[in-house]
């Protein structure tokens, strides 16, 4: 059985302004990357395609949601919130391996076919990220819990 679950109820934990913040941050990061590219060149701008601006917002939101849930249950929840955000960080490090694969596949294919490059690179991100996540999970289950 797959350990991955779909949990739409998590959307109810969010406040409307949190979604606005994410939208604005995403837009701002894309504008900033464009500005860097036009001012300092494509090579420097390319670095910022992997800027962790979104991760900052996501980790903060996850921590807040966990703390809010614990507060509602009458608990402090600070540690739980930090642990949830740290788990998100562990996942992002594996997603970054997928992001590397995205860039590598796009680099190889883009001059031969633009649409194919976008599709293949996105698939590469998904496959490599999920494979890395499964690999880590398997490794942890073989190694056993830390003492």
């Amino acid at each position: 059985m797959t350990p991955i679950r779909f949990s739409p109820s998590s959307l109810r934990a969010g406040r409307w302004y949190e979604y606005v913040i994410r939208f604005v941050l995403g837009g701002a990061a894309t504008v900033f990357t464009g500005l860097v590219s036009s001012r300092f060149g494509a090579a420097t701008g390319g670095l910022f395609l992997a800027i962790p601006a979104i991760f900052c917002a996501s980790a903060t939101l996850i921590e807040n949601h966990e703390m809010r849930r614990k507060h509602e249950a009458g608990l402090a929840g600070k540690r739980r919130g930090q642990a949830a955000a740290a788990l998100d960080g562990a996942g992002a490090s594996l997603g970054a391996i997928g992001l590397f694969a995205f860039a590598a596949v796009f680099f190889v294919l883009v001059e031969n076919g633009i649409s194919a490059a976008f599709v293949a690179a996105s698939l590469a991100w998904a496959i490599v990220s999920v494979a890395a996540w499964y690999g880590r999970r398997k490794w942890r289950s073989v190694r056993g819990p830390r003492r």
Binding site: Y19, F23, G26, G89, G95, F100, F102, S122
Partner: protein, 124 residues
Amino acid sequence: MVEALEKDEMTEYVVRFFLGGLIVSAFATLGDVLRPKSFAGLFGAAPSVALATLGIAVHQHGAGYAAVQSRTMMLGATALALYSVVVCQLMLRTRLRALAATLLSLVVWLIASFGLLFLAGAVA
């Protein structure tokens, strides 16, 4: 003519803002509804800014320009992996809050990214 150019540039940045915001929100929402949390974390490193920026780069400057961007994006992604590990360890070991840990660690990402760019330039 200068005014027309400025207007074009302004339109480009408005398009960038909305396209980037939309793609980032879509990936973030997907991350919100998936469990476990470590799996949802994969979406913190989704190619959201990259999809928007490379799409505009291809449209405006051609495939060669986007290829140059994607080549150095590999260095940025390597730095992002290091950044995520540092954030995770900071929160677990020093008990820093998420906002402080993620913002402080941006220094790590900047140093790693530009350090790798420098090394790649030196090798090439």
